[in-house]
């Protein structure tokens, strides 16, 4: 290392669920190399390929260096560079005009998890401005795992259900249900703990339409399953447990309500159809004997962790799958126990560690003046992305139809933070129509993304290397990280809080920001348990020492009188009164298998016979990193198709194919594989939408084919879509 070179620690947390240490080498104000965690005292938080590629992202030639104003039609990509003064003056004038003409509800802010930080955070900073102006429309709902949230809020009354991953080492059996953490990360060391569990002799079973890298590395068995039928398999497993009297009846009696109603359903007393493995076999494609043995093994292994991946939950009636998984975890008595699992969604933030949240946000008058929306759980607002009156999956429709369509307002102004919604909201062509209907769109970006191409103003924002902040890694070990400003902002890009402050001043909000970033960091850390902030800042991070794995609901199981569950009954609700009260069609108060739309029995399957799933690739974090040369060259974007389905269509490996349904069409290369269930095709989500003159997407954006219809319990069914594939 040369004399004038410094090595500075920071944290990468770009929307993969992980948080990994990066050590940036800096010379003459330029990052020259990146290393990762070399801590010899604690478990290391080693970064993946994405984290290692940051240098090509920071210094990418396409990095936005000036505010960009749209000068051509939306989507044309015609922009001109303007000054910050002009950009912020224009935005301030538009904001004022929209609020005065249509009221504050016409302003929509969509923020996703693309860039997690405490201070330059996505929603607080902008939310504060909008609320100071009188409020705004804040959509609720998470694309990633709304079905899982619904299940947890109804079964447990809360959504913080994830064990720290070190607890995998205490499991006798791990069932990976649609879970591929080798690609999706979901906590930095998830794959590493799974490997250690395997090496200690834990049996691991993978249920998945695909044979993934995770299945190949961790699992002893692979059981393919048809997409959208997971609830049927789980319910048949419950049937086996009851028929063979394998359930932990004492646990059910003590900690749950509604098991008898569920039992009636699975035994066929309700509808005359016993939900046996033989019933589930033609639905799921899993042999009845396999389902039976899986049920027996899960009931026998104590403790056993059923890890319910969130991909299977992103299907039509995906909340039923999550509720069924939780019910099975209760039937096997694995809830609240080390080495077990409550059967909830495979990832969620841990309520471990604590710090402040910066400036206070005034109440949102728009939310407050509208009654609680029908169909939304009363406790949904207590979990992340829970406030608001419009379900995000309805937002495109709401923008298009407005008040005339029965929505609370006409929407005119959209501010986008840390997100690429044109690409990532379902049904891209409909999202394009919605964007075209808006008066004004602002997005904060590093690049001219598909969303940015449809915006009126694109504000160049900094990466976390270019500003001071503090954040937490929810990974194991849970850590605090000080993100020191390591380099100057690239081009004229500005930090999010900096341009927000400038905008607030133009809007007459004089007391918006009275501190420097460093002062804010100190204020945020005042509410943390860190005693020596100076030492923490010097070191750059702090790993929280836990006395053992964090096990949600341990207190409820050990002393249920003192610690009831957060449900109305105080117990795990297999039968949910809250769901019954919502009175939604196809959303029963006990978990049931409901035949999905666009499944293989849908009449539409005659025209579009293949089930599309839209998975995650290791070389992107959603749409982030898709343009990084080091990552692009590793794996070409392609649709995976089984040898059988490819042969029937005369498709050979590498052929360009047209993938289409009534919602849209795209052209991508085909990858002919033995690792996917026949009848299923997989197009990884996150590739950048790039329509040609005929509206055919040449970028391979999976949402061109997905449907913007949320499941009754809120699950976004991005893995429920029928398509056809043909040689292009």
């Amino acid at each position: 290392m040369s004399e004038n070179e410094q090595v500075i620690t920071t944290l990468c947390a770009p929307h993969c669920g992980g948080g990994c240490l990066l050590k940036a080498h800096v010379k003459d104000g330029v990052i020259t190399r990146i290393e990762t965690d070399d801590d010899t005292d604690n478990v290391q938080l080693r970064a993946c390929l994405r984290g290692r590629s940051w240098r090509q992202r920071i210094y990418h030639p396409d990095r936005l260096k000036h505010p960009m104003k749209r000068v051509g039609p939306r989507g044309s990509g015609q922009f001109e560079a303007i000054s910050w003064d002009e950009a912020l003056d224009t935005i301030a004038a538009e904001l004022r005009r929209v609020v005065q003409t249509y009221g504050p509800a016409a302003i929509v802010h969509w923020v996703s998890g693309g860039d997690q930080a405490a201070l330059h955070d996505g929603w607080r900073r902008m939310s504060r401005i909008f609320c100071m102006l009188g409020g705004y429309t804040r959509p609720w709902g998470l694309h990633s795992y709304e079905g899982g949230i619904f299940a947890e809020l109804t079964c447990f009354g809360m959504g913080y259900t994830a064990h720290t991953r070190d607890d995998l080492l205490n499991s006798k059996l791990i069932i990976m249900w649609g879970w591929n953490p080798a690609a999706t990360i979901q906590d930095t060391n998830t794959a590493w703990y799974l490997m250690q569990a395997r090496e200690r002799g834990t049996r691991i079973i993978s249920i998945d339409p695909r044979f993934t890298a995770s299945t190949s590395a961790f699992a002893h068995h692979w059981i393919p399953i048809r997409p959208g039928t997971d609830a049927a398999a789980l319910i048949a497993m419950a049937n086996v447990m009851v028929m063979e009297n394998l359930q932990d009846q004492a646990f059910l009696d003590r900690f749950t309500i509604g098991f008898d109603a569920f039992k009636n359903y699975i035994l066929g007393k309700e509808d005359g159809v016993a939900k046996t493995p033989e019933w589930a076999e033609p639905i799921t494609g899993m042999p009845a004997a396999t389902i039976r043995r899986l049920a027996q093994d899960y009931a026998a292994a104590k403790p056993a962790a059923l890890i319910a991946g969130i991909g299977p939950g992103r299907t039509a009636y995906g909340e039923q799958y999550h509720r069924a998984a939780i019910t099975l975890a209760a039937m096997t008595g694995n809830i609240g126990k080390s080495g077990g699992s409550c059967g909830g969604k495979s990832w969620g933030p841990h309520p471990l560690g604590k710090m402040g949240s910066g400036p206070k946000i005034p109440p949102n008058q728009v939310d407050d003046t509208v009654p609680h929306p029908p169909g939304k759980l009363p406790n949904r607002k207590y979990y992340i992305w829970g406030h608001g009156i419009i379900n995000v999956f309805r937002l495109t429709d709401a923008i298009i139809r407005g008040k005339a369509g029965g929505y609370p307002a006409d929407y005119k102004f959209l501010w986008i933070t840390n997100a690429n919604p044109l690409n990532q909201w379902p049904n891209t062509n409909k999202t394009v129509a919605a964007f075209n209907k808006l008066d004004f769109i602002v997005t904060e970006e590093h690049f001219m993304t598909p969303t940015a191409r449809y915006a009126d103003m694109v504000l160049p924002t900094t990466t976390f290397f270019e500003r001071t902040d503090v954040t937490m890694s929810a990974s194991c070990p849970v850590s605090y990280a000080y993100r020191r400003k390591i380099i100057e902002p690239v081009g004229e890009s500005r930090t999010p809080l900096d341009f927000a402050t400038d905008l607030a001043r133009r809007l007459g909000l004089a007391d918006y920001n009275d501190k420097t970033d460093e002062q804010w960091v100190d204020a945020i850390l005042q509410e943390s348990p860190l005693t020596d902030v100076a030492a923490f800042k010097r070191k750059g991070f702090h790993k929280i020492e836990l006395t053992g794995p964090s096990v949600p609901f341990r207190a409820q199981i050990e002393d249920p009188k003192k610690n009831p569950f957060y449900t109305p009954s105080g117990k795990i609700e297999i039968y949910s009164r809250m769901i019954a009260d919502l009175n939604l069609p196809n959303c029963p108060p006990i978990p049931k298998y409901i035949q999905p739309w666009e499944g293989r029995n849908d009449p539409l399957a005659e025209k579009y016979p293949l089930q599309l799933i839209t998975t995650h690739t290791k070389r992107r974090a959603h749409t982030q990193f898709d343009n990084i040369p080091w990552l692009r060259e590793l794996e070409p974007h392609a649709i995976s198709i089984s040898r059988t389905d490819a042969a029937a269509r005369g498709i050979r490996d590498g052929d360009r194919v047209r993938v289409f349904n009534d919602r849209g069409a795209l052209i991508v290369p085909a990858k002919v594989v033995e690792t996917i269930m026949p009848g299923v095709v997989d197009l990884p989500q996150g590739a950048w939408y790039n329509p040609d003159e005929n509206g055919v997407d040449r970028g391979g954006c999976a949402n061109v084919l997905s449907l913007d219809r949320p499941s009754p319990g809120g699950a976004l069914p991005s893995n429920t879509a029928l398509v056809q594939v043909e040689k292009a």
Partner: protein, 190 residues
């Protein structure tokens, strides 16, 4: 002394972190040159596929084929640690030669996209050993599937298996590698 790699194929998930970390550390642009290469090996038929990943830097062979193959004497093997290095100034370039690449069964010699690119290859992170650090691929592997050190130490720690899926041991060249291969472990039916 001979430095050697250890590769635990049972742990590798094919995540490519080693590839990207190597390109970042050695400042190699995207393109044909990659000192570390990860390949996916797939066999079998649905529903009984087999998948493994091979991880191939330069194995710094005891008897490297590239050294005698080079007409310009640009490649040499260091006495002190057995690392095979290239003198890029002496290399004739890919438009004129490539005999080293033809000689190497592991295709370790790499050439960039530029005109008459000079050969480049994994140097086992000579600069990092000098600072007491392991090679960047080893230090960064999220699955802790890699190790490196004197071959005697690697052998005493991990045994003497030298082959894995996609990696064949060449008796004549004696690559400096110890492996733990992934075997077909998925049961045919459950």
């Amino acid at each position: 002394m001979q430095l050697a790699f250890y590769f635990d194929q049972t742990r590798c998930t094919g995540c490519y972190t080693c590839v990207v970390a190597c390109k970042d550390w050695h400042d190699i642009p995207a393109g044909p040159a990659s000192w570390m290469r990860v390949e996916t090996i797939e066999r079998g038929k649905y529903p009984h596929p087999f998948m493994a990943f091979s991880c191939t830097p330069c194995y710094h062979c005891a008897e490297p084929a590239c050294v005698p193959a080079c007409p310009a004497n640009a490649i040499s093997k260091r006495e002190q640690d057995g690392i095979v290095v290239v003198d890029r100034d002496a290399c004739l370039g890919k438009d004129k030669c490539q005999l080293c690449l033809e000689a190497c069964p592991y295709r370790a010699p790499q050439f960039g996209a530029e005109d008459n690119a000079k050969m480049q290859k994994c140097d086992f992170c000579i600069d990092r050993w000098a600072e007491g650090k392991q090679p960047i691929c080893v230090a960064g592997c999220p699955m802790r599937a890699l190790d490196a050190g004197p071959i005697t130490k690697m052998e005493s720690r991990y045994g003497k298996v030298r082959e894995a899926e996609g990696i064949r041991y060449d008796e004549g060249l004696r690559p400096s590698l110890v492996c733990k291969p992934r075997r077909q472990v998925y049961l045919a039916s459950y």
